[in-house]
């Protein structure tokens, strides 16, 4: 078995048992990146030299620890990721590495600080091997909005990997890294996970610190993880979750220990858990193979002991218009900071005002400009009540839908996107058509609830089909347990693209 085929858990286990070293593992990843990257373009920046140096340091640390603690009893709890290479979406700051957010307006920016989510993983021993491609400022569903070129889907290079965390999803799917970080404002972890056939978690709002994340829609942004299995995603999630003094929206809520029933021979059971299937998520016009794949996966969950029932989330169709008012409004405020004065490139002009106009007008891409303008309009005098005020009221109705559903069920099962990965260029210059890609993922962000996407099959052309489970606030553990059980009795998550 090649080292790059290891899941995160397998890599951790191989390092613990001395079957491989961090140096070998990191080199294997770098070599695979070198081979695959020219046709995939999953990365915007590689940190090969520093990654190898950190890998060697991790190996030395492990040797030293073996003398004092031969069973590595402490290591399991303090540094489970010691020497594990990971990739980080280029919207999260890592000290000393460039951070562009896929935008020309941050070209050359090297943050002097590290995002808390990344720092948590580094403290647990992880090594950042590189920064992955993203739609500019995470605004998009395909990576086609990246100012540095599109990422190709490892299952079919003529297709998009999804977005905005498309670089991270493609890197995990192509076995370039065992795991990666992404962010999800309207589906940006779950939809690329689905398009690339990997497992991706959007945690509850307030669960993982956003300190060091390039802000897009602050009432929606979440930092999440992508990996091959639910177990792998759970490992990363548990390390990142928790209150952070540098992000006042993080909540002091216990992170439930995720009990997978590991160590028992019997198949994990979902007996006693209820799963709701919302009729509004199975719409006319969706790809038949997606609906069939999701319905079959629901039958598998039922076979594992879960009770399945039909539910209704009646305001689902309004999630898209609500999102495309609230997210651009928040973006227009958040992106006001890019002014060509304090960081990033500056286009020279006679006056300070012209520096603003010129730098922003020429360095932001079209989708970012559209959303800034949409948000500026929605917040402007005379329009605030009709747009932003109205959207925040309808958002309350969407939240209530979820609250009512979760009185009845423990999780909601639904498709991630109406189709499998679409061809590069399919939506041309039609922003609204692209927005419709997010129709099933936006509601979880608007309600702040967790969502977990994982592969449940393939369509006729060999592209992955994904399903998502949405859960109660701060009950990521229930979703991870369900997906883990599913992955014990199916093997879709082990399929590898034929590169």
């Amino acid at each position: 078995m090649e080292l790059t085929e290891f899941s995160l858990m397998q890599a951790i286990s191989a390092l613990f048992h001395g079957e491989t070293s961090s140096r070998e593992l990191t080199r294997a990843c770098l070599e695979r990146i070198e081979r695959r990257e020219p046709s995939l373009h999953a990365f915007l920046h590689l940190a090969a030299a520093s990654a190898l140096a950190q890998a060697e340091a991790a190996d030395r640390e492990r040797v030293a620890l073996r003398r004092t603690d031969p069973q590595f009893t402490d290591l399991w709890s303090t540094k489970p990721l010691l020497g594990i290479p990971i990739a980080v979406k280029d919207v999260l700051a890592v000290e000393g590495l460039p951070c562009t957010a896929g935008s020309k307006i941050l070209e050359g920016f090297v943050p002097p600080f590290t995002a808390t989510s990344v720092k948590c993983l580094q403290k647990a021993g992880a090594i950042v091997i590189g920064k992955t491609n993203t739609d500019e400022f995470a605004m998009g569903s395909s990576t086609e909005n990246s100012a540095y070129g599109v990422t190709h889907n490892p299952w079919d290079e003529s297709r998009v990997p999804g977005g905005s965390s498309g670089g991270s999803a493609a890197a995990v799917a192509a076995r370039l890294v065992p795991a990666a970080l992404g962010t999800d404002t309207g589906g940006s972890v779950r939809q690329p996970a689905s398009f690339c056939g990997v497992t991706g978690l959007k945690p509850s709002y307030g669960r993982v610190s956003r300190y060091g994340l390039v802000a897009y829609g602050s009432s929606l942004d979440c930092v999440g993880a992508l990996a091959r299995t639910a177990e792998d995603v759970a490992i990363l999630f548990q390390i990142m979750a928790g209150r952070d003094l540098l992000d006042a929206t993080t909540v002091e809520a216990p992170v439930p220990k995720i009990d997978f029933g590991v160590g028992t021979d019997s198949c994990p059971s979902l007996r006693g858990l209820n799963i709701g299937v919302p009729q509004e998520y199975f719409v006319r016009g969706m790809q038949a193979e997606v609906e069939a794949g999701v319905r079959e996966a629901i039958r598998v969950l039922e076979g594992l002991g879960a009770e399945i029932c039909e539910i209704s989330l009646s305001h689902t169709e309004y999630a898209l218009p609500v999102y495309y008012i609230i997210a651009p409004a928040e973006a227009s405020a958040n992106l006001a900071r890019y002014d060509g004065i304090r960081y990033g490139p500056r286009l020279e002009a006679e006056s300070m005002w012209d520096i603003y106009y010129r730098t922003r007008g020429r360095k932001f891409g079209a989708e970012v400009e559209r959303r800034i303008m949409l948000g500026t309009y929605a917040l402007s005098a005379g329009y605030y009540d009709a747009y932003y005020g109205k959207a925040q009221k309808v958002r309350t109705l969407i939240q209530r839908d979820f609250e009512q559903a979760f009185e009845q069920v423990d999780a909601i099962a639904a498709p991630v996107a109406p189709t499998t990965a679409f061809p590069i260029g399919a939506h041309g210059d039609d922003p609204l058509a692209m927005y419709l890609e997010d129709v099933f993922t936006l509601p979880a962000n608007l309600a702040g609830v967790p969502g977990l996407a994982f592969p449940v099959g393939f369509d006729g052309t060999g592209l992955p089909v994904g399903m998502q489970l949405m859960g109660k606030h701060f009950r990521e553990d229930v979703l991870l347990r369900m997906a883990y059980a599913y992955q014990q009795v199916t093997d879709w998550h082990t399929w590898e693209p034929n590169l």
Binding site: G108, V110, P112, F113, Y205, G206, S219, R243, A248, T249, V251, E252, A253, H315, Y318, L320, P321, Y324, A336, G340, I341, R342, Y343, G344, R346, M352, W353, D354, I355, Y356, Y357, R360, G361, R362, F364, A366, E369, R370, I372, M373, L374, T376, Y377, S380, A386, Y387, K390, Q392, K393, V394, R395, L397, Q399, D429, P431, L432, Y435, L446, G448, H473
Partner: protein, 95 residues
């Protein structure tokens, strides 16, 4: 109702974006289509609904206001296009 060219120019000014004539025309069309789409929210009666303030049930917390180490000036100015001493440099604002 489609946006007028003047409205597009007004929004671009508020947002501090320099746009070409071609961009203005394109955004006018695209933003009008998006606004047309989001107008379906007006179908819903929300007279007695409060707007969402936060999706979190618990109130946000405040930390104690104590000095703690921050970033150095060198780190903060390291990414600036133009600086002089410990200041960002810009063209004159006042005559």
């Amino acid at each position: 109702m489609p946006l007028s060219l003047e409205e597009v120019e007004h929004i671009a000014t508020l947002a501090r974006l320099e746009l070409s004539a071609e961009e203005k025309a394109r955004y006018r069309e695209q933003l009008s289509a998006i606004l047309d789409y989001v107008d379906r929210l007006q179908e819903l009666d929300t007279a007695n609904i409060s707007p969402t303030a936060s999706v979190l049930a618990a109130e946000g917390h405040l930390r104690t206001d104590e000095p703690r180490p921050g970033l150095s000036c060198e780190a903060l100015f390291g990414n600036a296009p133009e600086t002089e001493g410990k200041q960002f440099k810009i063209p004159p604002v006042f005559e």
